[in-house]
């Protein structure tokens, strides 16, 4: 009897010891990566696919045994698009969770708010927001994956020159994305010899823009409209223009890069021209395109897992997490070394383009990362002029 109890106790002790040991190894073998995305709120169309893409990548890597035997723990924080929340989450991730790197935030406003915190906390931040100011001036710990606004504007103006359009109107939402785009467009138009006849700002939550369209249409000199906003306004302006019987070309920002928006605008989306990464036209890419394999892989995995169309936005986070993973593979669980490893990435194929970082360029993409797309029969196809 006594012996049996002893035996039993002995078993218990061994069990506890074993458990403790296994816990310890699990802790030692975990690399924490933080993520701040606007999963809910007004920018949820960005943050939702971003969070899902990042989770998908991490899950896949962990299933395959992790990085050098270490599993990744992705800590996703929902900022709901608020800069204040993004700031406090960034502090929490850096100081309490001791993450090796942070991906996100989703919007430009949040990224600018978090930029200083990442820099002071000496923690790698790979933003998934578009604005150029995030990486210009360069902060040593801050990178970003989406293509620069200025490349999008440049692409659009080049296309206009080809179409011999000389006078345009700009319409933009009154959020961070719209404001930054509008400034960029107004600044760059003169260098392409294009005159901005009207520049209008509207509420980014506007539900109808027919009055604005009527005002712009009244000026017969306007040969094209550039709209810089997020959903649903970019579908609404397309509808209101066509309903008013106004058939000048409508250019949109790279924010139009989700087939759902083309579906939302329905017949009014036909002929919209916009710059975007190549994810949306992957089927029409040449087989020797260095991005093609990766794009097909991302698109098919995402669509199989979440039963929704892959968008360029999810691709931003997909690229960001892959960069962090590549850097951890090389540099281990060390913040400064991971940062150096990301800066050292060259010819790194991503959904957004082929990234080559330098100490001066923390975006790493060139203008060829954009292609011009248009909508035909409800589908995105490469734009080849009229």
């Amino acid at each position: 009897m006594n012996k049996r109890v002893q035996h039993y106790l002995g078993g218990c002790v061994t069990g506890v010891l074993l458990l403790a040991a296994s816990l310890q190894t699990a802790q030692a073998g975990t690399v924490k990566v933080g993520a701040i995305f606007a999963v809910t709120g007004p920018a949820s169309f960005l943050g939702g696919p971003e969070a899902r893409s990042a989770e998908m990548v991490v899950e896949k890597i962990n299933k395959a045994g992790g990085i050098n035997g270490n599993t990744i723990e992705l800590i996703v924080k929902d900022s709901a698009g608020s800069s204040e929340k993004a700031v406090s989450f960034a502090k929490q991730l850096i100081e309490e969770d001791k993450v090796v790197a942070i991906i996100g935030p989703s919007t430009s406003g949040e990224s600018m708010a978090v930029k200083k915190i990442a820099e002071e906390g000496k923690t790698l931040l790979i933003s998934c927001a578009a604005a150029e100011v995030i990486v210009d001036p360069v902060a040593s710990y801050v990178f970003k994956t989406p293509q620069k606004d200025s490349f999008a504007a440049q692409k659009i103006f080049e296309e206009m020159q080809r179409l011999k359009i000389s006078t345009i109107a700009i319409a933009a939402g009154n959020d961070g994305f719209g404001k930054a785009g509008k400034e960029q467009l107004e600044k760059m138009a003169p260098t392409f010899g294009i005159k901005v006849a009207a520049s209008e700002t509207y509420d980014s939550k506007a539900t109808d823009l027919s009055a604005l369209v009527a005002k712009l249409k009244a000026d017969p000199a306007i040969g094209a409209v550039i709209n810089w906003s997020v959903v649903p306004a970019q579908a609404i302006i397309a509808k209101n223009m066509r309903q008013a019987g106004w058939n000048v070309p409508l250019f949109q920002s790279h924010g139009f890069g989700n087939i759902k928006y083309a579906e939302a605008a329905g017949a009014a989306a036909e002929g919209i021209i916009f710059p975007c990464g190549r994810l949306l036209i992957v089927d029409s890419l040449a087989d020797n395109n260095p991005q093609k394999g990766l794009l097909i892989q991302y698109k098919s995995e995402y669509e199989a897992k979440y039963k929704e169309d892959a968008s360029a936005f999810g691709g931003y986070a997909f690229d960001a997490i892959n960069m962090v993973v590549a850097a951890i593979k090389k540099a281990g669980n060390d913040r400064a070394k991971v940062r150096d490893a990301v800066e050292g990435l060259t010819k790194f194929p991503g959904v957004g383009g082929i990234f080559s970082f330098t100490p001066q360029d923390h975006n790493g993409l060139d203008i060829d990362s954009f292609a011009m797309l248009t909508v035909k029969d409800g589908k995105f196809i490469p734009y080849k002029g009229q």
Binding site: V39, T40, G41, P42, S44, F45, G48, N174, E200, T201, Y202, D203, K205, A206, T207, D208, L209, S210, A211, L212, A214, K215, A218, V231, P232, A235, I236, A238, K239, R242, Q243, A244, G245, K260, A264, A265, G266, A267, A268, A269
Partner: protein, 296 residues
């Protein structure tokens, strides 16, 4: 300003205005029955749009809209029974806070059920680019649907409140709750009914405007603010005044585009609201005497 542009602005304004007016009518019905502002009214509009879009996969459009209206009315009744009915003589402030809580609850529920993407019903007639022309003014047929729906609702409510026994009981309840109760009217049921009615009206509004404005889980909040502004502007509790005030505000907003950027639209409507509250606190069409009776 050319005549064409004038009419184009005018019709844009009437479109906005009709949408605001329908939301404002929903506010008024509940205000009349209970004396509170139901800040979840915008969520009823969102629910109507979302439910009809989901139902459309299983049934034709008219049935989907009817189904959405009935389901939203059920939700309205449920909310009243769960959160309001059992309160013993609650203060107005407490009720308002409760409705704000309900609106947040409904919004979050919608986020979980439908996700963050934008959806819309198809155009009832034609598609996104169908227009008909009045002279050189182009109009989408959906605009006509919104205006017609608004007119039918106001007409229907008038008949309901003036011509049917239940409508008269609701009015009696609004005029003097204690007296109505002494006459044998079940005032609690009338309050439930008012929630159902305004939920149904909100849902119908959500359906007819969905092709124009799109529906998203959080589209209710901004609509509620506009509807509230219009309800105050017209004079709380008066549905005809709400329509007039809605169209007036819509037209003002549309014409303001020619002078200031569209982004100031909301600033203009809020400035008008403040002005009215200072100068004529009972609304453009409300009388101070009636308002005093109400408070009593």
């Amino acid at each position: 300003m050319s005549l064409d542009l004038f009419f184009q602005y005018l019709f844009a304004g009437i479109t906005y205005g009709s949408i605001y007016a329908i939301v404002a009518i929903g506010f008024n019905i509940i205000y009349n029955a209970t004396g509170i502002i139901n800040f979840a009214q915008g969520e009823f509009v969102m629910l109507g749009g979302m439910i009809s879009i989901s139902l459309l996969q299983f049934m034709p459009l008219p049935l989907a809209i009817a189904g959405a209206v009935v389901i939203t009315m059920g939700i309205g009744a449920l909310i009243e029974i769960l959160f309001i009915r059992w309160l013993e003589s609650p203060s107005v402030l407490r009720l308002i806070i409760i409705t704000i809580g309900i609106s947040i609850l409904l919004r979050e529920l919608a986020l979980h059920v439908w996700g963050e993407s934008i959806r819309s019903l198809p155009y009832f007639y034609g598609n996104e680019i169908t227009t008909f022309s009045l002279g050189s003014v182009h109009l989408s047929p959906q605009v006509m649907w919104v205006i017609t729906a608004c007119a039918v609702m106001v007409g229907g409510l008038n008949v309901f409140f003036k011509g049917t026994p239940i409508g008269r009981e609701m009015r009696a309840c609004a005029a003097n709750r204690t007296a109505a109760m002494l006459c044998g009217i079940n005032t609690r049921n009338m309050v439930t009914l008012s929630f159902m009615l305004s939920a149904g009206i909100g849902a119908l509004a959500g359906c007819v405007m969905s092709p124009i404005t799109y529906t998203q889980y959080d589209s209710g909040a901004s609509l509620a603010i506009k509807g509230f502004t219009v309800a105050i502007l017209g004079g709380l509790g008066n549905s005809m005044a709400a329509v007039a005030a809605g169209i007036l505000l819509g037209i003002l907003e549309a014409f303001s585009v020619s002078v200031v950027p569209l982004a100031f639209q909301d600033a203009i409507s809020i400035a008008i609201l403040l002005l009215i509250l200072f100068v004529k606190p009972h609304g453009l069409f409300g009388s101070s005497e009636a308002a005093r009776l109400k408070d009593f």
